[in-house]
């Protein structure tokens, strides 16, 4: 029974329709009930579907649901195969994880939004977009072919655009929305190019046949590598990797729950999801995978350093998100797709928590986002502070929190691939711990830097916002136990995410195409065996090193920002140069402005000149020639054609003027003429005879 899969995205789509069509007339309570209800329903359906999936034997966990025929197959009569598309939903372990995260975290954020957005204009519009986003995101992760996935892919991009520009009367929000949309288009172009190349190669857009073909060694190596890179460029746009990450920090202009849902927990992870979904393709083209790893590592480190010097609480979290997404790509790039999805999941928990927590702070301070105007909020917002502590511990990687397990998994796998990559990732982890501690220090600890008027109005969040925070905090702390690494006794656990996901990332699963119990020369598995062989000692050592470094950094940050803020200021002075570079985000926006946007404008201007001078010139020339010839034509018509006609008329009139005289109407003149004629006839007759 897999034919109810289509209901999962349909529920939020219905909510979107109801709120979109009649939401304006409904009360705020009704709007919230519809919006949250459909997402909850979708979550329950997802749980039911995943439960069914889990009941299947490990190697065969696939549920397919061809909901509709989209483009029917047409017999091409021996030609190349035509495009045939079904509206195909597929649930396998990977999409199972994704739909649970999307609907679960999504539901919590919907509930939180009720409290956060209560006072805002266009309350119904917000929930309409949010429901549409859920429908599109679920289509994206459940889509069983590139085409269905692309519908979701573009749909979430649209919702992202709409929600970033939610405060559409503010220019910066509208600009940020456009920036996100246009940057994503660049990535999507590459995505479409990759998709179409795959179609040209394999004649289908569905994942399983393509992956089966790739897994059994079909397809030229370099083409597959190029496809992998093109799709990765698409992932870069969606998941904010170098060089297309610039939109994500600006996307913080949207409402904070949107930042939590779309720009931290779900949509931005679509790129990671896609790379993991196509694991066999990337394993068949390791060059592309290497690029993924390097870009991911570079983005992680780069964004983390920017995060150190930002003063806007949401900007810090935004760069942190970019950095953590880089982490996931590192994991995917070294072939540890399970670790990537694991980190995606834990990141969804703790980053949603951090964003919602920052939303609580911003809400409490009446839309103040500058951390320099906060401080000492621990006493005033105890619950927010407590949940923020959980998120902080998780993202910094304090042992036994969710971030610790997932990050450690990635660090270990990257160490196996290359110690250099490990060094970069570990440095990122340390910097992450530092800037998150700085954020905590500036926001919650130390002395208050608020003005007294604002301070008097600070209030703890209402219950509807508090409970999602608490649940997410619990998930952020405990989510790591979803996948305990073998070195820490994961083999003893009844369930690990790694083991659950393993068949999805194993080419042999696809190559066997349904044959039960296919084991063999299985690259992913072999890699793991190899990793396990390296000795647990190294893994323990690295784990200890990374954790110690993180905790030390946290302690240092705490000393700096809680106990001795003047030292932090002094450090800032001493490294003013570097601080300036980081504060200005390496001037990447300015660089893009100078290189891309200005040259684009110049191109536009050149095109304009071309248009005015050449195209318009040709058009005017044609016009002038036409007018000139028409003058000639008029002359010919007037003088020659009309002249001939008039000449005929005049000739006839002149001739008739002469002949008219003969008809006098007098009978006698006619008689005279008759006599004269008779006389002449007689004369002729006589002369002839």
């Amino acid at each position: 029974m897999s034919d109810f899969l289509w209901l999962i995205p349909l529920c939020p789509a219905l909510g979107f329709l109801v709120n979109g069509l009649i939401g304006r007339k409904l009360s705020k309570r009704a709007v919230s009930a519809v919006a949250c209800g459909v997402v909850l329903l979708s979550f329950l359906l997802s749980v039911a579907a995943v439960a069914q999936l889990a009941a299947m034997p490990a190697g065969e966990r696939v549920m397919e649901n061809r909901a509709l025929t989209w483009i029917p197959r047409v017999d091409s009569g021996g030609g190349p195969p035509g495009l045939a598309l079904d509206w195909l939903y597929v649930l396998d372990p990977l999409s199972a994880v994704m739909i649970l995260v999307v609907t679960g975290v999504g539901f919590l954020i919907h509930v939180y939004s009720i409290g956060y957005m209560w006072e805002e204009q266009g309350y119904w519009r917000y929930f309409t977009y949010l429901n549409l986003f859920m429908a599109m995101m679920l289509t994206l992760v459940l889509g069983g072919s590139f085409a269905v996935m692309f519908v979701g892919w573009e749909g979430v991009g649209l919702c992202s655009y709409l929600l970033i520009g939610y405060y559409h009367t503010r220019t910066d929000c509208a600009d940020a929305g456009r920036k996100a949309f246009i940057t994503n288009r660049i990535g999507d172009l590459a995505f479409v190019a990759g998709t179409l190349t795959l179609f040209a190669l394999f004649g289908t857009l569905e994942f399983r046949p393509i992956l089966a073909a790739v897994a059994s060694g079909e397809g030229p190596y370099w083409v597959l590598a190029a496809v992998g890179l093109a799709l990765f460029v698409g992932a870069c746009g969606k998941s904010a990797q170098i060089p297309l990450y610039v939109w994500l920090p600006d996307a913080m202009a949207g409402p904070t729950p949107v930042s939590a849902l779309i720009h931290a927990a779900t949509m931005v992870t679509a790129g990671v999801y896609m790379v993991c979904r196509l694991a066999p393709l990337y394993l068949a083209a390791p060059v592309a995978l290497t690029v993924v790893a390097i870009v991911g590592a570079a983005t992680a480190l780069f964004a983390a350093t920017i995060g150190i010097a930002q003063n806007d609480i949401k900007k810090v979290l935004a760069y942190s998100t970019v950095s953590q997404l880089g982490y996931m790509f590192v994991a995917a790039g070294v072939g540890a797709f399970g670790a990537a999805v694991f980190h995606l999941t834990t990141h969804a928990f703790f980053k949603a928590l951090l964003f919602l927590g920052s939303g609580a702070v911003i809400h409490a301070l009446h839309h103040e986002q500058d951390m320099m105007k906060m401080g000492g909020l621990k006493a005033k917002l105890p619950v927010t502070h407590a949940v923020f502590l959980c998120g902080w511990a998780a993202i910094a990687g304090v042992p036994l929190t969710s971030g610790f397990f997932s990050k450690d998994e990635i660090l270990w796998k990257s160490f196996l691939w290359s110690p250099l990559l490990w060094a970069s990732a570990a440095a990122t982890a340390v910097i992450t711990a530092f800037y998150m501690t700085r954020l905590m220090g500036l926001t919650f600890w130390g002395r208050s830097r608020m003005d007294h008027h604002a301070e008097a109005h600070v209030h703890e969040v209402p219950g509807v916002m508090k409970w999602p925070l608490i649940i997410l905090a619990a998930l952020a702390l405990l989510g790591g136990f979803l996948s305990v690494p073998p070195a820490l006794g994961g083999d003893l656990m009844p369930f690990t995410l790694e083991g659950w996901l393993h068949p999805v990332f194993t080419p042999a699963t696809y190559a066997a195409s349904g044959h039960h119990g296919a084991h063999g020369g299985d690259a992913g598995h072999a890699g793991e065996e190899h990793g396990g062989h390296h000795g647990a000692a190294a893994e323990y050592g690295l784990m200890l090193l990374a954790s110690t470094l993180a905790v030390l950094t946290m302690w240092l940050g705490w000393r700096l920002y809680d106990r001795h803020p003047e030292k932090a200021a002094a450090w800032k002075e001493r490294f003013a140069g570097i601080h300036g570079v980081l504060k200005n985000k390496y001037w990447v926006d300015e660089l893009y402005d100078a290189v891309v946007i200005r040259s684009f404008y110049s191109l536009c201007r050149a095109a304009h000149v071309l248009d005015v001078r050449v195209v318009d010139g040709v058009v005017h020339l044609v016009r002038n020639v036409t007018v000139g010839t028409s003058y000639l034509s008029v002359f010919w018509d007037t003088w020659v054609v009309d002249g001939l006609v008039n000449l005929t008329g005049r000739t006839v009139r002149a001739g008739s003027g002469v002949l008219r005289r003969l008809q006098t109407g007098l009978a006698q003149s006619y008689a005279s003429a008759m006599v004269l004629g008779l006389f002449l006839l007689i004369c002729v007759y006589m002369y002839m005879s």
Binding site: Q663, G665, L666, A667, Q668, A671, V675
Partner: protein, 100 residues
């Protein structure tokens, strides 16, 4: 016996008198009378040749022509009366309604 040529000259003279009347007089009735004269000159011709050739067919023709002339005069006079009623004149120079 009067030679046929005399009769022919007489008939010619009569015809010319009639023709002159038709062509020159302004009174429509006199024009009609001229036409009668020209017809009678034709009758004289018929009878002259009938006598010379001893054939009665010419005399039959002339009687026939007199009958036709009587009808013709009746029609002609009727036209003149109609003209007079419409135009108050029978001066042929003033009647040019045949002009298109």
């Amino acid at each position: 016996m009067v030679p046929t040529s005399h009769l022919l000259v007489f008939s010619l003279a009569l015809f010319i008198v009639g023709l002159a009347g038709v062509l020159t007089r302004r009174n429509a009735i006199i024009v009609l009378m001229g036409i009668e004269l020209m017809m009678n000159s034709a009758n004289i011709n018929f009878i002259a040749f009938s006598r010379q050739l001893g054939d009665l067919a010419g005399q039959v023709f002339s009687v026939f022509t007199i009958v036709v002339a009587a009808g013709e005069v009746a029609v002609g006079l009727a036209i003149i009366i109609a003209l007079y009623r419409n135009k108050d004149t029978i001066n042929i120079d003033e009647i040019n309604i045949m002009k298109g």
